[in-house]
Amino acid sequence: MPQSAEKILDHAPLFREPEYRQMLAEKKLNFECPHQDQVVTDQREFTETWEYREKNFAREALVINPAKACQPLGAVFAATGFERTMPFVHGSQGCVAYYRSHLSRHFKEPASAVSSSMTEDAAVFGGLKNMVDGLANTYQLYDPKMIAVSTTCMAEVIGDDLHSFIENAKEEGSVPRDFDVPFAHTPAFVGSHIDGYDGTVKGILEHFWKGQERTEARGTINIIPGFDGFCVGNNRELKRLLDLMGVSYTFIQDASDQFDTPSDGEYRMYDGGTKIQDVRNALNAEATLSLQHYNTRKTLEYCEEVGQATASFHYPLGVQATDEFLVEVSAISGKEIPEAIRLERGRLVDAMADSQSWLHGKKYALYGDPDFVHAMARFIMETGGEPTHCLATNGTKAWEDQMKELLASSPFGKEAQVWAGKDLWAMRSLLFTEPVDLLIGNSYGKYLERDTGTPLIRLMFPIFDRHHHHRFALMGYQGGLRVLTTILDKIFDKLDRETSETGVTDYSYDLTR
């Protein structure tokens, strides 16, 4: 055998050794009844055609490689952004294991969440007992300050009523009467993770604000970031900007510390997050601003109901979007935007001007959450690029209309197309039939990169196969610099690769770009 104690091969080269190749080839031949290579090749090539694209887009029932997650994932993420809060998902425990691994693989941090572990008998008789036991155990085992309850499909299908269940559990003494157990129904068969986020944040605000007297504190602002895989970098960057302005604000739902705990010998099941008392006081804020409109539609409605002014943004990234955000904050808070921020803005504009010739006319395919795609399309057009394909599996008709409006506002959006509700297998056809220079998305885009040869830039949750990107901000002027650099690096790396063949293409393998 090729593996020996003297020189241990990693599995990647090991299975390329002749013994393993032969073994795998024989398995294929003898047990898999494979099609002939030519048939496979023909079929693969067929999937690259316009004809296939039309069939692909005519799909009605089947979704292939969706670029969205389910409501409870958003709910769990939302819950982790509050002080000592344990996300509790009422339903089957397998789902919850997925949310934990999803968050953990992205943030490279532990992700705690519990479930009520419903089984077949719970499905038949209802999950009340699971709720009662579950809340009691969670309270005893993990010492939370708050338990935020959401649901999986199983609980939703049998119609469990969270409100009465939680009341019953409190009656039975699972948790103290005055212990905070906000909740939200988050069925996965409706909407996506961004709606689960919305419902959970709304549920938490309702829990603390309902029936309370509101005395408006002029000039104070609540900020709701929305579901954001880059919350670690983004939230800290936004707080820095708000502090520079001297704004009085509360970040509602802030998972930046929870998903970035230091290695200092202490395991933190809970870290950071919005203080419970701050959530209570946030009722008095003059305004609530959402950084991601489609993540907070219901939450903002509720904020308006209690009398707050509201405004929402689409992931403020790049020059104009950040301008709008800061101007709004300035208008509400009455605080001026200081010179330091003006300089940061100038530096981003300067950097974009320095590099404009490399970005001008580049074509992009974008996918991800609706607000992110809106932000990226806008930034790309600011750099003179064309957002040729803008796709959001969880994008709605309203989003589609808004995207079209955005694209129509610039000559660089003239050729661009919006694909609401489409999946990544549809994106594959788009990339083959109407190719672009760069693909912006998440780790799942790597299969598209492999199949179509379109270089992938990872700027969207989840990023499993690259480390620490989420530690750097994408929002604000500083974030714009980061996004700009990331795009440019990809362009230059590709150019270097394409010009590196000695004596053949290296006439433009330039030292200075």
């Binding site: 020059v319 104009q320 301008d323 709008e324 955000f325 800061l326 101007v327 709004e328 300035s330 208008a331 009455g334 001026e336 935007i337 003006r342 803005r345 504009v349 300067d350 974009m352 001007a353 320095d354 404009q356 010739s357 001008h360 006319g361 057009m381 600011e382 750099t383 003179g384 610039s410 660089f412 000695t502 004596g503 290296d506 006439y507 433009s508 330039d510 030292l511 200075t512 770009r513």
Partner: protein, 496 residues
């Protein structure tokens, strides 16, 4: 050093240079290099100039006899392109150290370095460059090269242009002298023919000569040697068998062209591949010179046919840009031939030239510019960075075309900029190159970032912050750049 002094005097006394002819004997002796002003920003040295001219000879090992920095700082700093060999991009230096200087070991080290290159790379030739330090300590590179050439049976060419002897332009010329003394005429081609030409001063930046070469191929004209762009040593060594020479960058290699005419009776003319009419004119002139030297006159007709065909295509392609670029104002801040040859094509599609520098242009260049522009006021010698900045920040131009060193003056004055000198990344020569240049101007002017660059942050133009809703577009007029430009480090503008 005395031979170097004589060489410099000889180079200064260039009869083909109109400037020089106009001087009296005393002024001529002083030379044409402008005296450097201590304390003022300056461009490159003679070594840099020599290396720039010779480095693009691609299969040669270029060995810099110096402390590390001379080669280290100039390693691979030009975007000239090779169609094959890569040896010219490999950095060879003797890395002279303190001990070498004190003990006088420079020559021995150089000799060993030549041997090591020979053994490791076996190149067709090695060029050895002297520099300030090795010249000051008295290393005799000519003797070392001579000895090494005999010992290793390989051309070893001394390039005696240490930095302190003068400007970059002087270095260009000294490089030409090195080729005359040691390279050109040392090999006899077995295929010399009546359609062989040389191109001098063509650097093949971004491979742009490859946009021109197919035109020659179609006419049956062979480029014996393009010096130095994408050249091979043997091509240069047998360049003396060409029938005509076109010189592209006159200030760099005029002495080489004239002396080749003197020695081998190769007539030359000065032309340019920048711009459509200039490319055509260059093709015509070459054909005419070849016919004068005995080629079949039918080539003249074929040349005209080719010109007519190519011009028609190019003008058609350019016309597409007219609606987008008509009335746009261009400031050309470069030197030499580009100042007039590009002007014409730009004006043809309705671009207005608000100024062009004539820093390195000959009186003949200036005459042509005058004729094309019909207004001398648009011509300026070198413009100081401060004036340039003032002009740009008053928005007197929509774009500046220049070399990399003035780009930041434009960018900080909020004006788009396009690199048309050696660091650019697009080929601009020939008919297709002109179309590419116009395309790049179009892209640069219409990039959306300029709106951001010119407009202040939206909060600065708001009177009452509380009353206005946020808006993506600021409604006030562009605020002029009010900060004075502080740095004046960009004196050395155009280069060819």
């Amino acid at each position: 050093m005395s031979s170097l002094n004589a060489k410099i005097q000889d180079v200064f006394n260039e009869p083909a240079c109109e400037n020089n002819r106009g001087k009296d004997a005393k002024a001529r002796k002083k030379g044409c290099s402008k005296p450097l002003t201590p304390g003022a920003a300056a461009g490159g040295c003679a070594f840099d100039g020599a290396k720039i001219v010779l480095q693009p000879i691609t299969d040669v090992a270029h060995l810099v006899h110096a402390p590390l920095a001379c080669e280290g700082n100039s390693w691979d700093n030009r975007g000239t392109a090779s169609s094959g060999p890569t040896l010219w991009r490999t950095s060879f230096t003797t890395d002279v150290t303190e001990l070498d200087v004190m003990m006088g070991q420079g020559e021995r080290k150089l000799f060993k370095a030549i041997r090591e290159i020979k053994e490791a790379y076996a190149p067709p030739a090695i060029f050895v460059y002297s520099t300030c330090v090795t010249a000051l300590i008295g290393d005799d590179i000519e003797a070392v090269c001579k000895r090494a050439a005999e010992k290793f049976d390989l051309p070893v060419v001394p390039v005696n242009a240490p930095g302190f002897v003068g400007s970059k332009n002087l270095g260009n010329k000294l490089a030409g002298e090195a080729l005359l003394d040691h390279v050109i005429g040392t090999a006899e081609p077995d295929d010399a023919g009546p359609y062989d030409i040389n191109i001098l001063g063509e650097f093949n930046l971004s491979g742009e000569f490859w946009l021109v070469k197919p035109l020659f191929d179609r006419l049956g004209i062979r480029v014996r040697a393009s010096i130095p762009g994408d050249a091979r040593y043997l091509d240069v060594a047998s360049a003396h068998r060409a029938r005509a020479t076109m010189i592209v960058c006159s200030t760099a290699l005029i002495n080489l062209a004239r002396k080749m005419e003197q020695r081998w009776d190769i007539p030359f003319f000065e032309g340019s591949f920048y711009g459509i009419t200039d490319t055509s004119e260059a093709l015509r002139q070459i054909s005419r010179l070849l016919v004068k030297k005995g080629a079949d006159p039918e080539i003249l007709g074929r040349t005209e046919a080719l010109i007519a065909e190519e011009e028609a295509i190019a003008w058609k392609k350019l016309a597409a840009y007219r609606p987008r670029l008509e009335g746009k104002r261009v400031l050309l801040n470069t030197g030499g031939v580009k100042s007039w040859s590009v002007v014409h094509a730009l004006m043809e599609i309705g671009i207005e030239i608000v100024g062009t520098s004539v820093k390195k242009s000959t009186p003949e260049d200036k005459e042509r510019i005058k004729k094309i522009l019909k207004d001398e006021n648009h011509m300026f010698e070198a413009m100081a960075p401060r004036e340039l900045y003032a002009m740009l920040s008053k928005h007197e131009a929509d774009i500046m075309l220049s070399g990399g060193r003035t780009q930041f003056i434009a960018l900080k004055a909020k004006v788009p900029w396009l690199d048309i000198n050696q660091e650019r990344h697009q080929p601009y020569a020939g008919y297709d190159g002109m179309v590419e240049l116009v395309r790049q101007i179009d892209l640069a002017i219409h990039n959306p970032i300029w709106r951001q660059v010119r407009e202040p942050p939206p909060w600065e133009c708001r009177t009452a912050v509380e009353d206005e809703p946020p808006s993506s577009k600021s409604k006030t007029a562009t605020v002029q750049g009010f900060k004075k430009f502080a740095g004046t480090t960009a004196d050395d503008f155009g280069e060819c």
